[in-house]
């Protein structure tokens, strides 16, 4: 454990040092400008402490972000609207809905694409094209259409946007995975007189699993991005995305950075969870880890 943690801590330490240096360097401009406006001059020794505690720093030093994050996580009741835990949960809920929807859609499409040539030929190119459409542009359209269909929930458009981004990695990896058995293996099954269904369940599907789980990590991250992007146009009312926007708009960079790190922590938790599921599933399937 120690052997594993040490390099990570070392790299993290380097990052923190660079961060502090960058904070001084980037925030100093403002201090000098202010001094110039006030008609005074400041020495470098005077500048450094001033770069550490600005209200709207260009780059807040780590301890400022940590303090704001701590205030948002531990300083409030978790049900409070000022709690990052509350907003994190809102985002988490949206992410999970989108993720689930994305997996179902991705796997279903992949299976039908591998099975039906006509699906492969007609749908696959368009699935790729669908990802090149900037979701930000589609978001208001999705909202409007949802309104027209009489869906008033804020969750549904968010989940749709999230699924739109997360189905694609699953689809690509599953198609690749389902096709990964090589000719020799397929021929072997043919000599066993295996039916198409048996080939699918006994060879193609197990062979695709490593690809599937690898894609899940990407997909869950994509779902989170989708949810956060979706939290802007759905009214910027709640969730980490909304807080980022409000922080940006009202010139409170600390709120924005805290929301960003909260999102990072959420992403980390999601990845770890997916990793655990992957390990358990692999063990069950007898794949050496």
């Amino acid at each position: 454990m120690k052997e594993k943690a040490l390099p990570v801590l070392a790299v993290l330490g380097i990052i923190v040092v660079i961060w502090y240096a960058a904070a001084v360097w980037m925030n100093a401009t403002w201090v000098y400008d202010q001094a110039e406006r006030a008609g005074t001059t400041v020495s470098f020794a005077e500048v450094v402490p001033q770069t550490m505690a600005q209200d709207r720093p260009l780059l807040p030093p780590p301890h400022q972000v940590a303090a704001e994050l701590w205030k948002g996580v531990a300083g409030q009741a978790v049900t409070s609207k000022r709690s990052l835990v509350y907003h994190g949960f809102v985002t988490f809920r949206g992410t999970m809905m989108g993720f689930a929807l994305g997996i179902v859609l991705g796997v279903a499409l992949a299976v039908s694409i591998v099975r039906f040539r006509v699906m492969d030929m007609s749908v696959m190119p368009w699935a790729i094209i669908s990802q090149t459409i900037p979701i930000v542009a589609l978001a208001p359209m999705i909202l409007t259409v949802a309104n027209q269909l009489g869906i008033d929930s804020r969750e549904v458009p968010k989940a749709v946007i999230s699924a739109y981004l997360s189905f694609f990695p699953v689809l690509v990896s599953m198609v690749k995975g389902l096709r990964s058995p090589d000719q020799m293996q397929l021929d072997l099954l043919k000599t066993y007189n295996a039916s198409e269904g048996e080939t699918f369940w006994k060879l193609r599907l197990p062979a695709s699993m490593p690809y599937f789980f690898a894609s899940l990590k990407v997909a869950v991250a994509a779902a989170l991005i989708g949810t956060i992007v979706g939290e802007l146009p759905t009214g910027a009312i709640e969730g980490l995305g909304a807080r980022m926007l409000i922080g940006s708009q009202f010139g409170e960079p600390l709120i924005m950075w805290a929301a960003l790190f909260a999102a990072a922590i959420l992403a980390g938790l999601l990845i770890v969870a997916v990793g655990i599921v992957e390990r358990v599933a692999r063990k069950r399937m007898g794949v050496p880890a």
């Binding site: 409070s80 146009p233 009214g235």
Partner: protein
């Protein structure tokens, strides 16, 4: 038997007295700019009129005009230039009330750029909001004779984001600000008012009408809907007047409605104070002369006018006449 009948009768009466639903789409996120509506709701003014009002906050990707076109709202808060532009695009929006009497929009410049008058804008970089809010700026520039396409002698236009960073980072010489919001963020950031030069659209004679209430024309011909809007406008204006008189309480009501929990008391109280100055002159009725000034300003857009012809029937006093009796 008699008891049963009375019960049924009561139930029937309760049915007719059931609150009518109204959905209001705001132009932007929950903030004191919309205090009147939140106050009317919190103080029960809507309820008194028998209305059940849902207030939908806006956001960077929400065009109220599109929401109302899609049936997501009954009435929207919008600026007149955007509403008139939408009308020309085939969405028949009608102004039914105008809570904001004057414009709060201005350009705020750093004094160190040497700008002292609008003529100095030439060859400078100016930050502007888009998303339907650019119309007042574009018509002002074309009246000044300044090109906005980046050609020499004109101005370079930046689409500014949602904050005042471009000015603080000196990426723009001037940025768009509202008297009730962004201007104070510049001050908060530590720049003293002495280091700033501001040009209010109102002072430059290019002001256009801001937050007004708009509905779809065809719905207005339905007497039931008209009646509902009369009630809505009456209660909303009551909310606005209450907010003007009790700005601190109004700000706290707004804060309670902010679901992001990221807004601060300090910002909202100050915003409420500034917004009250803009709503002060209005009892809700649209000043037709001001509306015509807006139209004239938008029409004078030179080669690329915001609207190409004077709109007809873009506003009505039918609602406010009844509401303000």
């Amino acid at each position: 038997m008699k008891k049963l009948l009375t019960g049924a009768l009561l139930a029937a009466m309760a049915g007719t007295a059931q609150a009518e639903d109204v959905t209001l789409q705001l132009k932007w996120v929950t903030q004191a700019q919309f205090a009147g509506y939140y106050v009317a709701q919190a103080k029960g003014f809507y309820e008194e009129e028998g209305l059940n009002v849902t207030i939908k906050p806006g956001g960077p990707d929400i065009a109220p005009t599109q929401v109302i076109a899609g049936g997501g709202a009954d009435v929207i808060v919008e600026w007149m230039p955007a509403a008139l532009a939408a009308r020309e695009k085939g969405l028949p929006l009608v102004n039914i009330a105008q809570p904001f009497a004057s414009s709060g929009m201005m350009l705020t410049c750093l004094k160190e750029t040497g700008i002292t008058a609008p003529a100095d804008f030439a060859d400078k970089t100016l930050g502007v909001w888009f998303f339907g809010n650019e119309y007042p700026f574009l018509s002002w520039m074309s009246q000044l004779g300044l090109a906005t396409d980046g050609s020499a002698g004109g101005v370079t236009v930046l689409k500014q984001g949602f904050n005042v960073d471009p000015l603080l980072q000196k990426q723009a010489a001037c940025i768009s600000t509202m008297t009730y919001n962004e201007y104070w963020q510049v001050i908060d950031a530590g720049i003293s008012p002495d280091d700033l030069v501001t040009f209010k659209y109102e002072d430059q004679g290019v002001a256009t009408l801001e937050d007004g209430l708009y509905v779809l024309e065809d719905k207005l011909s339905d007497p039931a809907f008209e009646e509902k809007m009369v009630k809505f406008v009456r209660a909303s204006m009551k909310g606005w007047k209450y907010a003007e008189e009790n700005p601190d309480e109004a700000a706290m009501i707004v804060l309670e409605n902010d679901e992001t929990g990221a807004q601060t008391e300090n910002h909202q109280k100050r915003m409420m104070g500034e917004v009250a100055k803009l709503t002060a002159g209005s009892n809700g009725a649209l000043d037709v002369a001001a509306a015509e000034r807006t139209v004239a300003s938008l029409l004078s857009g030179g080669s690329d006018p915001v609207i190409t012809k004077a709109p007809e029937g873009a506003w009505t006093s039918a609602i406010t006449d009844k509401a303000l009796q």
